[in-house]
Subunit: 310 residues, 2 copies
Amino acid sequence: MSTHNGSVPGSAEPSSQEHTRRTLLVIGGAEDKRRRTLVLKRFVELAGGREARIVVIPTASSMAEEAFDVYQSVFGRLRSREVSLVNPQTRLETSEPSLAEAIDNATGVFVTGGNQLKLGQLIVGTPLHEAITRAYHRGAVISGTSAGASVLSQFMISMGEEGVAPRQRVSQLSAGLGLLPGVILDQHFGQRTRYARLLSLVAASPSLLGVGIDEDTAAEIVDERSMTVVGSGAVYVVDARAAVSDAHEARHAAPLMVSGAVVHSLPYGAHFDLGAAQLLDFQEMHPEVAVVTSPTDAHDTANAAAALRR
Amino acid sequence: MSTHNGSVPGSAEPSSQEHTRRTLLVIGGAEDKRRRTLVLKRFVELAGGREARIVVIPTASSMAEEAFDVYQSVFGRLRSREVSLVNPQTRLETSEPSLAEAIDNATGVFVTGGNQLKLGQLIVGTPLHEAITRAYHRGAVISGTSAGASVLSQFMISMGEEGVAPRQRVSQLSAGLGLLPGVILDQHFGQRTRYARLLSLVAASPSLLGVGIDEDTAAEIVDERSMTVVGSGAVYVVDARAAVSDAHEARHAAPLMVSGAVVHSLPYGAHFDLGAAQLLDFQEMHPEVAVVTSPTDAHDTANAAAALRR
């Protein structure tokens, strides 16, 4: 574990007005870090802009120090006031008071990509988890990308296979941070063809709404209900609440019967009600954003770190 | 053009009772030809079993003669009475009376895979097309696999890109045989990740129902309405009739906004009403079928032809 400050000039506290809403910025991975940085810019804005005090948690990454350097650099360029590192490597370390203190002082918490099982095992149910929940409820924006996105919901997809054909018991859930109840978050959605795994999970648990997020795209979710899409891809909602399915009896790996699921493909500018599972409005946006795709989060981190060194 | 008989012992005419219904057997490509042959067995059964007089149209295939040999062999093993070849290579040839005569004499017509644009250009709107329509209305089963499946509907997908993220104007339609109005048929659905292309097309034309079929799987459609699924994969229905979309104004290649489409994943034994777009019933089937997948139809034909020679 270590905490580390990378101060950026800035001043004043964020106004209390900005912090009455609970805000998540759930990112589908491989967000642009070098050009338009549309998604990360939004994160810094939500964290208070020049007053932002950001904690980065790169614990999921196999290259945690590099991942921190990359985000510290980006958030610095975006003029956030302070960027700190919280990087526990064992479950025991998450009890160290300095970690909770760092989170308690933050206006934004950013969880990087990597291995989401590691996040689940190290952080969920620990004092660090409690600190993140506290921060969320006092209005700090909580954001995660890729694995860091998945862990934000109550039920976290821990694995599954690619494709459009839902099959029985090839996807699995485990416990996440629970900041977004009633939703399963998935990431790298279009790029890794995760439609089938999300559909098969919500078919088995129709009370949960499936939300899949493309790379370089984020779902900005306020008060666990109002969702706005930001970025170059789309956010997909899969709603099986009215569907009929044989998910309770189909054999292992058999094609699943799922009839009557409702789907939504929501690009930048869509505004969606997660409670009613309905589109509220849509203002088409035409940003000239870079579409960034990487085979793995480690690859993405390595690329960004190499660019940083140049 | 050539016609060619491959007689199989058999007798009696199919009873008129069996032929009062209009029947399509729409196959998603790469159907098992060597082991359980579940889908092709169903075709022969629908064509009258031992009384079946089948016409194979391999015009779409780059290996038409080999494709014919393969299906002649399979349909022979399945004890159909007669297997004939209709293989025009120009649009002019489709006017030759012997082709229409062969179709007029058939209890089943089978259109192979290959290049569906060739099928569209050579056959649609010709006397051969008229003969197929006549055969369909007098109760002969009309079947096609892969490209041969796509051409059966009124609006035929002629191209499109893979993925789950629907995008503007990356898929195209052209005119098919029109035996199934109101539906867009797609094939190799799960194997080639064709969810996005089908969704983007029905988003632009919400009056049409999208029906995507997996490999080694068929949609058996009676009177253009009652659909039953046969085979080792699934049939997918995408219904955008109640969806909201920006398909009328989104820029080329932009992520499409499609909110509220209803989807159905229907394995073997599902029975579905294409008019109401509703599941009627589902009897789970557990056939031990071979799952056959091939990168291309030509590859599939070559494999089957090689097996035939052995």
